[in-house]
């Protein structure tokens, strides 16, 4: 398709992309700049900090705000990893059945996944809050992992089914004809073909759980609070200082790993996000 783009259009498109890239990066650069400013220069409105200060990072990683930020970071990592693992494993079985087997109810499962994904999550908060308080799951990691399955399972099922449908499954039989045992055929042929899809699904699923705020602030109070919720309740070094710098630093710390994942796996993430949504 690129071949018929004229040189003039080409240059023009290249120029247009510059403001787009700036627009996309400015808010992130601003929060990065704030995180590196000292308290005195926080309000100078300048994009490049006059002098680099690591005070904000010190505050959240080793200083007074450590007790608030580090446990939240640990909670986020544990809760999101477990939720991702459970939902990808469950989705793998379901997607395999959907992609390979012919059984009644296939449509029902996919429609249910669709319905669950458009469900307004806040509607789950009230009943879960009431129930979790009654059975002692309030403010626990498990109490967050369970509702996160509602966020992540439909997405995992869709994305994985789309990936699994593209796998040439007949290669498995071909390998068996060539003398491989069914386990060998599975491990040497199917696993390498399926793992990129599983991996991509895991990344997208993880992003979704990592992003959650509604459940995190509603179903936790201190012990199981994750980063997005902790950020919203950050306080300054003392009662009288604004937590702006600390919030900015914490935001950068949780954003960097995600940006690295995006840079590394850009193409796969795009194909995963769009695979279920458009025929192709």
């Amino acid at each position: 398709m690129e071949s018929n783009v004229s040189d003039k259009t080409r240059t023009w498109l290249g120029l247009v992309s510059i403001p787009i890239i700036i627009y996309t990066l400015v808010p992130i650069l601003w929060i990065l700049s704030l995180s590196l400013k000292s308290t005195a220069t926080l309000s100078d409105g300048k994009f490049v900090p006059q002098e680099l200060s690591w005070d904000n990072y010190r505050l959240i990683l080793t200083g007074d705000a450590r007790g608030l930020f580090l446990p939240a970071l640990a909670n986020s990592v544990v809760v999101c990893l477990v939720a991702t693992l459970v939902s990808v494993v469950l989705a793998m079985f379901a997607a395999y059945a959907i992609a390979r087997l012919d059984f009644p109810g296939k449509k029902l499962i996919l429609t249910t996944a669709l319905a669950v994904s458009i469900f307004p999550v806040i509607s789950l908060v009230t009943p879960l809050y009431n129930l979790w308080r009654a059975i002692g799951l309030f403010d626990t990691q498990i109490g967050l992992i369970i509702p996160y399955l509602a966020l992540t399972l439909p997405l995992s099922i869709w994305v994985l089914s789309a990936f699994f449908k593209q796998i040439p499954w007949e290669m498995e039989q071909a390998a068996q004809v060539d003398g491989a045992t069914s386990w060998q055929a599975f491990r040497k042929v199917i696993v390498p073909l399926a793992s990129p899809g599983v991996f991509t699904t895991a990344i997208i699923t993880f992003f979704t759980a990592w992003n959650d705020f509604v459940f995190a602030i509603s179903l936790t109070s201190e012990n199981a609070r994750t980063v997005p919720a902790a950020l919203a309740f950050f306080t300054g070094a003392s009662q009288f200082t604004q937590p702006t710098g600390a919030i900015a630093a914490a935001a950068i710390v949780v954003t960097i790993p995600v940006v690295i994942l995006v840079l590394l796996f850009q193409r796969r993430i795009v194909s995963g996000l769009t695979s279920g949504a458009v025929k192709g």
């Binding site: 992309s17 990066l25 249910t112 009230t126 996000l273 279920g276 949504a277 458009v278 192709g280």
Partner: protein, 294 residues
């Protein structure tokens, strides 16, 4: 027969978990919404039938929140469709810097919504912001450097919408880009040979051929926008009458521990979302079979 059994054995657990974490709570919410029930005073719990709904539906606060949510939804989805479509068309044709652009555009999608909301809150703020300085310079001093965006209803809504648009346009543009890739380029070329202008080609050839992708993108974004919570919570906390429906449900349940009233709001929000879906699927004939991966 064996295949049917195996199919359900493999897909059953995922299906059961999905139902357990959504169908059960929403049915429970319907039940709880029929009671006058405050968590701090469980003994006073009593059956009031539809009274909670009557209270909510006659309250100005609820209708104000509905209006705010509708405004945010319509504004963000329309703007996102236009920007997202432009972005998709540029990403579709661009040669250099193709990969960089496609990667950078993904970044807002991957950023936590709360972080994006803070970034924009800090950017708009009078003290820690930069937008006021820029606007002041660009307007040759006509725009006041101390303008308080969060000090009035409409300016606060604009700030919320901008943060939401920045965060979710990438997702929209990716869905549209996938749709755009399905439009046969020969059609567009033929129209160009026949002397059609850019806009004629866009409205007569490109858009009609990717109608399915556009409708699916609109449905997803509309439902998502209607649930808006994070950005409002972080940027205004509902001040200046910027509370959305989700924020009202949260406040009833978590801040006031009015479980009965909170459940009624939750059920109403659920019904609205179902209503929007029905309008899209039946009214606009959105074909979801492609979404279900059939």
């Amino acid at each position: 027969m064996a295949e049917r059994k195996l199919g359900w054995k493999l897909a059953g657990p995922a299906f059961a978990v999905m139902l357990a974490v959504t169908a059960y709570p929403i049915l429970n919410a319907v039940w709880l919404s029929l009671y006058d029930y405050r968590l701090t005073d469980p003994s006073a719990r009593k059956f009031v039938f539809l009274n909670n709904y009557a209270v909510v539906l006659t309250d100005g606060l609820w209708w104000g929140a509905v209006l705010t949510t509708v405004v945010i939804t319509v504004v963000t989805v329309v703007v996102e469709l236009v920007i997202g479509m432009a972005l998709a068309m540029i990403m579709n044709k661009i040669v250099v810097p193709r990969r960089i652009l496609r990667t950078v555009v993904l970044i807002p999608y991957a950023i936590i919504t709360v972080v994006s909301a803070f970034a924009w809150r800090f950017a708009f703020a009078v003290d820690t912001g930069f937008l006021n300085h820029w606007l002041h310079t660009l307007s040759f001093g006509a725009f006041s450097e101390t303008y308080d965006w969060f000090g009035s209803h409409w300016s606060a809504l604009i700030a919320i919408c901008i943060s939401e648009i920045w965060k979710t346009t990438p997702f929209m543009s990716l869905l549209l880009l996938a749709g755009l890739a399905q439009v046969p380029s020969s059609l567009e070329e033929a129209a160009e040979v026949d002397g059609a202008t850019f806009w004629q080609r866009l409205f007569k050839v490109v858009l009609p051929n990717m109608k399915g992708a556009i409708m699916v993108a609109l449905l997803f974004r509309t439902l998502d926008a209607f649930r808006i919570f994070d950005a409002v919570f972080v940027m205004t906390g509902g001040a200046q009458d910027t509370s959305t429906v989700s924020l009202v449900a949260y406040n009833q349940t978590i801040s006031r521990v009015e479980i009965g009233m909170g459940s009624a709001v939750s059920v109403l929000l659920f019904l609205i979302v179902v209503g929007i879906s029905v309008v899209f699927i039946k009214g606009f004939k959105v074909d979801l079979s492609s979404v279900r991966g059939e």
